[in-house]
Symmetry: C2
Subunit: 197 residues, 2 copies
């Protein structure tokens, strides 16, 4: 149950067996069925979440009622409304499950305690945030400079096999295009690959 999260942490910091044990003792398991909400816009978020299994989306709904997906989170990713978790203000995003999902939850007060007892975790979560920030910068550049078909190409390269798992509609929302457009992009894509082969 904890192998994945421990491996995830080991990317950046090294823990002793005792530290590992202490850390995992702070985690709570949560299961969600497909379509269930994890966070709704306006909630005060008390947890940071690690995805052990399954898939979620983080999105917002604009004045016209349209959904815009900021992020997908699959196994081995962290998720949550960072803004709300850290400031204890109402969440700006809604998060729900696109598949049956299993999460490990780390509560705010547990995290504070963890920072004190095992200060390495300050470093870990800072690195996590930095990486998230950097990849967000890259996504901005892409969204401003690339046409839709290239953005799709970047997406399937960066998140291999995600496109087989997710409904087209959700990917279109993530890319900022209509489902119709993505459908056409995909059929061009297949046609071009066939030509080359």
């Amino acid at each position: 149950m904890y192998e994945l999260i421990l491996k995830n942490i080991a990317r950046f910091i090294t823990l002793t067996p005792e530290e590992e044990h202490y850390f995992t003792s702070l985690l709570k398991l949560k299961k969600l069925r497909k379509k269930q909400y994890l966070v709704q816009e306006g909630d005060i978020v008390r947890y940071d979440y690690f995805v052990n299994k399954g898939c979620l989306r983080t999105y917002t709904i604009d004045e016209k009622g349209l959904e815009h997906i900021v992020q997908f989170s699959i196994e081995d990713w962290w998720t949550g409304d960072m803004y709300s978790f850290l400031t204890q203000q109402p969440a700006r995003y809604t998060i729900d499950a696109l598949e049956d999902t299993e999460l490990l939850c780390l509560e705010r007060s547990a995290l504070e305690e963890l920072y004190i007892k095992v200060p390495k975790f300050e470093r870990f979560f800072r690195l996590l945030l930095q990486n998230a920030f950097v990849s967000m910068q890259e996504r901005i550049i892409g969204s401003l400079s690339q046409p839709a078909d290239e953005r799709y190409c970047t997406f399937i390269t960066k998140y291999p096999n995600m496109e087989k798992r997710l409904p087209l509609k959700q990917i279109a929302s993530y890319l900022g295009i209509t489902p119709e457009s993505l459908s056409r992009i995909r059929s061009n894509y297949i046609r071009n690959n066939k030509k080359r082969a």
Copy 2:
């Protein structure tokens, strides 16, 4: 010379006079003339920068040779290539001055020392990063869901008077549109405001 940066820090943490003094003793002053580089893509970035006066842009150049601006930094903002500063890998962005600029520079080793002597700064820089992350998320949503004229409108609302200071070409690059398009958007904008008046 240090009023601005101390006020900036006071938004999130409270310092004693001694801590303020210690902190400012770590800072180095740097002046840049218009068009000078602060960071070039590929550099290893050793400093985090606070803008005391002036204006800079952070951008990257794509395969086609086109510039894409990730960020403008004016007085009271922090800037730098966060990725390079924190990982000591080559910078992904170039930063140069759009006006004569005055910076306060905080070196990596000085920051590490600061974290140890005044741990509150861990909190400060974490909050800084979080805010940057959150506003980046908002920008993604905007860039994917709004037409160019609305993005311009958001820009001038969020960064009041910036549009008077910056060349049109630079703003167009930030918004991900051509200078021609922004020029047209502006003239429509003026026309519409006149109608209403």
